[in-house]
Structure formats: structure tokens, C-alpha cells
């Protein structure tokens, strides 16, 4: 079975497991787990942030970022398609108790002009919702791994600062953007008050995310982490896997990207498929297809798992376990399914 549903399906390698088994541990609930502390210190250095907090998941990291930079009823400005809204609007409402002011940007890039429009979209008396935070994402999951252009990030950050807003960067796949653009992780981090990165996606660790920012904000996040049940004991074994991933696996993301382009290239050769090759910027390939459920079922029967994004949109996510041979097989399966059912599927890029 070729599993292209997500880069979260990656399993820890033997080397990573061997590394985990040796990890020194302590009680992270008291800040005493040596492996967790080493990972946090490493990330502080790598991203040049004052403080870092290792948490169970990207969802928790983003929740804590919102909780520690807003008060209940405050407003967060973001693009409708970013994960913090697209998947997480209910918990952000319940747990962070913030109001989302979401903007439908034409290309997924939330620029200063959109934030300006969002700010102007309602009256701003003192006793109404106060805009506090802008939340960005890089690479953008909802836009099939699109990279947020660095110049736009800078512009957003500067605009936010002029307007007294904080900036959070959901960097679940920031490593993917970084290997593609060559812009350093610390440069990206310098244009965000807080950022989260995930070790459990393309990097291949079983678990965990890091939230980073100023000491003051991360200290607040530490307290909220207890509320959410994120205080854990010997987290060092998980942290060791994340440390292994971040010290060994970043560069290989480039290979995932090349394979994604290779898959897109092969799909282009199928006359029935039209897709935008230039939109494949990192490790995802997205195709539009009528009857997407049937299409996916038929692919699965032939040994290929794809992910249903929204009805009519299917995506393939490339990760560490996928070989060039898998990509060729995947393309062949898609070709078979389409050509056997020509009239049933209509593709558009």
C-alpha cells in the first residue's frame, strides 16, 4: 500500500528508535527532563527565540499561542483557509475564547492590505472586540503546501507592529518552506512573536511540537498547558525522537519536494488530468476531481491511499517513506483508475 494521505503517517526509523531507547529522562512536569530540556535549548538556538516549550501536538502549540497572547473576546485576524481556523475554529472559540476575523484572500497569502481591511471591517470602540493577534501559516496546508513569500511575511510583521498586533506563525511545515527557500529558520522566526513547529510531519518523529517566543509569553503558555492536560512526565523519549529528527531529517525534505514535482509531472502526462504544476511548491500535489470518493476508493483498491481534502479535491502528500518507485506506481494507479472510468471523472487543476 502506498500511503499518500499525509506526512503525519511517517513512522520512526530504526536509528531514531535506537536513539529513543537510550534517551535520558526526568520529570518534565518539574522541568527536569534532560532530553526535553536539550531539545528546547536546541530549538531556542536554532530559531533564535528566548524560550521554547515542547508540547504533545501542533494543535496544542497553536492553542497555547492564542491563549497566551489574547484575552477572552479578543480578535484574531487570519485567512479562512489556515489550519487554526479551517480545522480549529471550535476549539479556538471554546478554549482560547477568541473571535476569529477571517479573510478570504485570493491566493492564500494574508497581506497587510487584508489585515487593514479586517481591522476596518467593524467599528472599534474600546468595549468591542479588540484585535490582538495575526495568525499566519507556512507552508500553507490549505493551499497544498504553498510557501508564504518571505517579503510578505516581513510586510505583515511590520504592519502588525505598527498596529499593536502580535504575530503567530503556525509553522507545522516551516521546515518544508525553509529547505525550499534557503531562508534560515531563525530569519523566519524573527518575524513572529510566537511560532510553532511540528516534528511529527515530514521530519518523521512520532510525536510533538515546539512553541517558541519570548520568556513572558512562553511562561503563560506553560500554565495553560497544565489546564489542557499537556503536562507530562518522562517526555524525554519523545523529545529524543524529535531531536533526532530535527538534527538528521531536515535536509531530506528536499527529496520529498522533488518527488512531489515528479508525481505532478507524471500526472500532467495523463491527458484527462489538468493540474497547475507551478502550484507544487513543497510536498503536496492536489488534484480536482468529480466523484472524488469513488475515485479514492478505486485508487485504494489498487493500493494507493490519497486524502480527501474537500469534496471534489484530493491530495497526495509525499513523505520520508515514499520512494521514486512508489511515485511511479502511484501515477500508474491514478492513470488506470481514470482511464478505466473516463466518463465518470473530470479533472481540473
Amino acid at each position: 500500500m502506498i500511503d499518500l494521505r499525509s506526512d503525519t503517517v511517517t513512522k520512526p526509523s530504526d536509528e531514531m528508535r535506537a536513539y529513543m531507547v537510550e534517551a535520558p529522562v526526568g520529570d518534565d512536569a518539574y522541568g527536569e527532563d534532560g532530553s526535553v530540556n536539550r531539545l528546547q535549548d536546541y530549538c531556542k538556538e536554532l530559531f533564535q527565540k528566548e524560550d521554547a516549550l515542547f508540547v504533545t501536538s501542533g494543535m496544542m502549540a497553536n492553542r497555547l499561542a492564542f491563549l497566551s497572547q489574547t484575552n477572552p473576546g479578543d480578535e484574531v485576524i487570519t485567512d479562512y483557509t489556515y489550519h487554526v481556523n479551517f480545522f480549529d475554529s471550535a476549539p479556538m472559540a471554546f478554549i482560547a475564547k477568541v473571535v476569529m476575523n477571517t479573510w478570504h484572500t485570493p491566493d492564500g497569502i494574508l497581506r497587510p492590505q487584508h489585515i487593514e481591511e479586517a481591522l476596518q471591517s467593524k467599528q472599534r470602540y474600546d468595549y468591542f472586540a479588540q484585535p490582538k493577534l495575526v495568525s499566519l501559516e507556512n507552508s500553507i496546508n490549505g493551499w497544498a503546501g504553498k510557501i508564504f513569500p518571505f517579503e510578505d511575511i516581513k510586510a505583515v510583521y511590520n504592519f502588525a507592529k505598527q498596529n499593536g498586533l502580535s504575530v503567530h506563525l503556525d509553522g507545522a511545515r516551516l521546515f518544508n518552506a525553509h529547505v525550499e527557500t534557503g531562508i534560515s529558520l531563525s530569519e523566519y522566526a524573527s518575524y513572529a512573536d510566537t511560532l510553532s513547529v511540528c516534528f511529527s510531519k515530514g521530519l518523521g518523529a512520532p510525536y510533538g511540537s515546539m512553541l517558541m517566543g519570548s520568556r513572558e509569553i512562553i511562561n503563560k503558555a506553560r500554565r495553560f498547558r497544565i489546564w489542557l492536560g499537556g503536562g507530562v512526565h518522562q517526555a524525554g523519549i519523545q523529545a529524543a525522537a524529535a531531536y533526532y529528527a530535527v538534527t538528521h531529517h531536515i535536509d531530506s525534505l528536499k527529496r520529498d519536494h522533488e518527488l512531489a514535482k515528479y508525481l505532478a509531472q507524471m500526472l500532467l502526462d495523463i491527458p484527462e488530468v489538468s493540474l497547475n504544476y507551478d502550484a507544487v511548491e513543497t510536498n503536496m500535489v492536489q488534484i480536482t476531481v468529480d466523484n472524488s470518493d469513488t475515485f479514492m476508493d478505486q485508487c485504494a483498491k489498487q493500493g494507493l491511499l490519497l486524502f480527501p481534502w474537500v469534496p471534489g479535491v484530493v491530495r497526495a502528500v509525499i513523505h520520508r517513506h515514499i520512494t521514486r518507485n512508489d511515485i511511479e506506481k502511484a501515477a500508474a494507479i491514478i492513470r488506470n483508475v481514470i482511464q478505466a472510468n473516463e466518463q465518470k471523472y473530470k479533472f481540473a487543476g
Partner: protein, 356 residues
């Protein structure tokens, strides 16, 4: 890489054994949030069987189990959760009850963390109305942590749960140390669990796993729990590595609990012989020792500091009380060393007084 040579601060600070690490290393894994991690699934099946419950969900911590269970069982903001005033969700979980579950704790002054139907009858049976908060959950802790590791008698549990259920109040067990009660009384986990709508067990305490807990209940309860698991960031990917440690703990470490219960009893006996302690030996039922100190010039905080200087950590609960918890990693020699240092702390000060 432990900070202290002997750590009696809590039973959470145990080092996973080499064997446990090996099964973790070899664990078969899949994507937990998609329900596809085979080792997690195996653990859940086993826990359902142990507790006699329909369904279960894996979570990173016991605190997350409490938070999620309360959110599922409470219906409206302001609902009441009835618990002992020493319960962990009240004393050690920050703003969990109000901040996360949007509920109010209704505190009972139990006896070492254990309360009776008599103490909760008035609130459970109080007339409902638009102007009052509804009692929604009775939450108990087995064993009681800050109650000193006391075991809730099965009979008391059954009475409390029966009263709650007859007034449509749900029942929840924080079973962080349920197995400590099980090995001591011989009553099975399923018998203890039977009258609870929601129950969780923890693997990071007496079972020696690095982290992880399982929340169990009916199918519909667990289905709703999954919604909040996502909300709170408890959805994990290859969690099988952790679940493997939890399974190992269930299979190999329950049988080791009696040994450190004995350690607790012996340690308590020695402590009771010191000049500056008041230890009620009858309260040492499991692995927790809470006792009073009346040192001529040291508060409990001072004593804890003196012990820390000798690389022994204990918890000072207040200026007159210390807590010590025994666990898997503790040896006979450790107990002797603690006692010898405790003796020194008494004598050293008296000598100093005689000189000064």
C-alpha cells in the same frame, strides 16, 4: 540524569527500565488520531477488559483525562463538580475546572480525601431551579493523593455512586493510582470501575511508564471525549511507542507494587521513631506517607531543604507536613539512607543548639 539521588517527591518520577525501553523501541506504530495505531488499539482493548468498559481513548496525561471527562459530563457552564477539597484537579491542575471545563468545584471536607453519602446528600438532592447551579459530576480519586494514599472502600464508592445516579448526577473516578488500591485489597479494577460513568488509569505512576493515560466509559462517552481530545491538543501520531510502555507496565509492574507498599510501611515505621515527627502508621495504606513534623527549629520546608542538600527530595505540603511517595525505583538501601539523613537532621540541630 536524575536531579536527585533519591526522589520521594512523587511516584511520577520513575525511570523507564531497559526492558520497557526495548519494547518501546520495537513497538509497532500507526497514526493514533486516525485510530490506526495497533499498539494503542491493543492497549485500549486491554484496558476496556480490565475495567469492564465499552470504550476507551489514549491521552497524554491524567490531567487531560480529568479535563476531558468533566467537559463531556457537564452540560452547561457553571455546573457543579463535587470533589474532596484535596483532590488533584482542585489543588494541582491550575485553572482546569473553571478555566477549561467552565464548571465550579463543590468542595467536600472528606476524611483523608474520602467523603460519604451523608456529606453530599444535601447538594445532590437539592431542589433544581433556574437560579441554582446543577450538580453534574461526583469525582473521586482512587487512591487519594493529598489524602495520603487512602483507599476508597468499595462499599462507600457504591453508596456514593448510587446516590449520584438516582439524581442523574454522573460519576467519575480519577484512577491515577487505582492499581495501588487493587493490589492492596484484592478487589479487581473492574469491581472498582463498575459504578463509574467515566474512569481513567495512569501509566506514569506506579506502573513506571514515561507518560500516558487511558480514559474509559461508554461508547457515546468516548465518542464525545474524542472531540475534546482534538480540542486540547491530545491527538497524537505514532503514540504506539508510548502505548507499548503502558502495556509493559500493566503486564510487568502491577506485581511490583506490593514491594514498594512494604517500603512505605517500613519507611513510615522508621520515621515514627524520630524525635521530631508524628506519624500515624494506620494511615499508610499504599505508597504515600503524609506526616506531621515538630522539629524544634526547622519547619517542614527547612527539613525538605536539608534533605535536598543530601540529594534526597521530598515534598513539604505546608510548614508542618511532609509527603513521601515510594515507587518502583526505590531500593532498601535508599530507605536506610533517608532514615539516616533524617536522624542527622534531628541530632545535628540539637548539637548546634547545645553549642550555641
Amino acid at each position: 540524569m536524575k536531579k536527585y539521588k533519591i526522589d520521594l517527591f512523587s511516584d511520577t518520577n520513575t525511570n523507564p527500565s531497559p526492558e520497557m525501553r526495548r519494547v518501546m523501541c520495537e513497538a509497532e506504530v500507526g497514526n493514533e488520531v486516525a485510530g490506526e495505531d495497533p499498539t494503542v488499539n491493543k492497549l485500549l482493548e486491554k484496558v476496556c477488559e480490565l475495567l469492564g468498559k465499552e470504550a476507551a481513548v489514549f491521552l497524554p496525561s491524567g490531567t487531560m483525562c480529568n479535563g476531558i471527562a468533566y467537559r463531556v459530563l457537564c452540560k452547561r457552564p457553571g455546573d457543579l463538580i463535587i470533589l474532596d477539597r484535596t483532590a488533584h484537579p482542585v489543588t494541582k491542575s491550575s485553572g482546569l475546572i473553571s478555566g477549561l471545563a467552565q464548571a465550579q468545584p463543590y468542595l467536600i471536607k472528606g476524611d483523608r480525601g474520602i467523603f460519604t453519602t451523608k456529606q453530599i446528600e444535601s447538594i445532590i438532592t437539592a431542589p433544581r431551579g433556574y437560579n441554582v447551579s446543577y450538580p453534574r459530576v461526583v469525582s473521586i480519586e482512587q487512591t487519594t493523593n493529598f489524602g495520603g494514599g487512602a483507599i476508597w472502600p468499595l462499599e462507600t464508592i457504591e453508596e456514593v455512586c448510587s446516590l449520584a445516579h438516582s439524581h442523574e448526577v454522573a460519576t467519575h473516578m480519577d484512577g491515577a493510582r487505582l492499581f495501588n488500591a487493587v493490589v492492596e485489597t484484592g478487589i479487581t479494577a473492574a469491581q472498582y470501575a463498575k459504578t463509574f460513568d467515566s474512569i481513567w488509569i495512569d501509566f506514569s505512576k506506579s506502573l513506571g511508564a514515561p507518560m500516558g493515560a487511558v480514559l474509559a466509559g461508554s461508547n457515546s462517552f468516548i465518542d464525545e471525549a474524542w472531540y475534546y481530545k482534538f480540542q486540547q491538543g491530545g491527538g497524537l501520531h505514532q503514540a504506539g511507542i508510548l502505548a507499548a510502555a503502558c502495556l509493559y507496565g500493566l503486564d510487568h509492574n502491577i506485581q511490583k507494587i506490593p514491594q514498594f507498599h512494604d517500603h512505605a510501611k517500613r519507611l513510615a515505621e522508621h520515621l515514627s521513631e524520630l524525635s521530631y515527627t508524628i506519624v500515624d502508621l494506620s494511615t499508610v495504606e499504599t505508597n504515600v506517607i503524609i506526616f506531621e513534623t515538630n522539629h524544634p527549629s526547622y519547619s517542614a520546608f527547612d527539613i525538605a531543604r536539608c534533605l535536598a542538600e543530601k540529594s534526597i527530595r521530598v515534598l513539604a505540603i505546608d510548614k508542618n507536613h511532609l509527603r513521601m511517595m515510594t515507587h518502583l525505583d526505590l531500593t532498601e538501601e535508599d530507605i536506610e539512607e533517608i532514615i539516616s539523613v533524617m536522624r542527622e537532621i534531628g541530632e545535628h540541630e540539637i548539637r548546634k543548639k547545645a553549642v550555641g
